[in-house]
Amino acid sequence: MQNLGFLYAIFPALKRAHATEDSLRRAALRHLSFFNTHPYMANLVLGISAAAEEEIAKDSSREKEVVELKNHLGGPLAALGDSLFWGSLRPLLALLAVEWVWLGPAPLAWIAPVFFLIFYNIPHLEMRKWGLWQGYHLGMRAIEKLRELKIQRGVAWLHLTGLVCVGFFLLAYLARIPTGERVIAFLCGLLFFLLTHRSFPPQILFYGLLALGLFMGAFVL
């Protein structure tokens, strides 16, 4: 349900592009149509749409194009943004931050959220800026530029880096816990991995861990 936000964002551009109130009104209603995509990638659509509106102001027969454009771009951009930001960058940085809290010195724990915010928001804001700028100045040609970014490759590299980090943290973590518990910890890890693979939701695994702990506390420890 991002249509209202989109309209709000693009409205200053609409005002600038359309000379008559009637034209402006039609433009505003146009951009109230259903729209949904990744919030950071939406800027690309915003830029392209703003440029398109300037064309439409001169030649109103092209009105339908911009809505079609939005519909076509929304889905693929959402998938791209989802896999890059939600699926790769955020989990990787979150993992690093959490591990710092867990394994690092307590007085320096504040570094974790600061690090997370800085290294997440730099690419985030760059993407927003890039999208808006390229979209406005290049129009549909910005899509080619987007392809040149090879985001899918970046995603795969982030995932590989993530795996390496997990390996590193696993070793560091296992080194810190008492020897007797290491085997159980490792087996738990394998079990969680398998259960996630079988689509068990994380909160179920969490409660399972809780149950395991209570069991250990009651009968073993």
Binding site: E21, A109, H124, A185, G213, G217
Partner: protein, 213 residues
């Protein structure tokens, strides 16, 4: 200021970042946790809870069918309940307990989303009417109204559930601290939390590793 009120006001404000405004990740538990902990005077609890809640849903993408609970709300409730915990050598155990109680409420909160969608449709109709009448300031007004509604929803939820759950949490803490088996068990589980997070992250990264072309 009263802790409950402060936690609800601040927690709701930070939660706005999740969907209503920005997505700068201030609503993530690893950020919201320490901030709330600092505001309530218990920074360690803020970090423990923040790290734990972030770990649980570290690999979850907020799209598709299996909608996770609102992680910010879960973290905020947990910290609100655990910040005033009695002194104990294993605070992580009590943090884990409050997270366990907070999760169902996070799920409930997400379900309330549906009510908000109905209101959003009303907002869009208002904007349509305004635009057709040439009153373009409606756009900004309704966007603001939507944000305000999100904020109120989060604030009221945190305040009511935070208050209502307080007594339950207190008695659970007392029970835990007086039952060594439970305390040991919770500490054990708390120490294993990173394994859970690492497994989930590993799975998420494993699935995505292949596309280097």
């Amino acid at each position: 200021m009263n802790d409950l009120l402060l936690a609800s006001l601040l927690g709701a404000l930070l939660s706005l970042d999740a969907a209503a405004m920005g997505q700068w990740m201030f609503s993530r538990p690893i950020v919201l946790g320490p901030i709330l902990g600092f505001a309530l005077g218990d920074v360690p609890a803020g970090f423990w809870v923040g790290a734990m809640v972030e770990l649980i849903w570290i690999s979850v993408i907020p799209i598709g069918v299996g909608v996770p609970p609102d992680v910010g709300i879960v973290a905020a409730l947990s910290i609100l309940w655990s910040h005033a915990m009695p002194n104990t050598p294993s605070p992580q155990a009590l943090c884990l307990l409050s997270v366990a109680i907070a999760i169902p409420f996070g799920v409930l909160f997400k379900r309330l989303d549906i009510l908000q969608r109905t209101f959003s449709k009303y907002l869009v109709r208002q904007v349509e009417a305004g635009v057709m009448a040439g009153r373009f300031q409606r756009i900004g007004q309704m966007v603001f109204a939507g944000i305000l509604l999100s904020y109120l929803r989060s604030f009221l939820f945190l305040f009511i559930v935070g208050a209502g759950g307080g007594a339950l949490i207190s008695s659970l803490y007392d029970f835990t601290l007086t039952t060594p088996a439970v305390l040991r068990g919770l500490s054990y589980a708390a120490n294993l939390m990173p394994i859970l997070g690492m497994s989930l992250a590993a799975h998420a990264f494993w699935v995505g590793r292949r596309d280097i072309a």
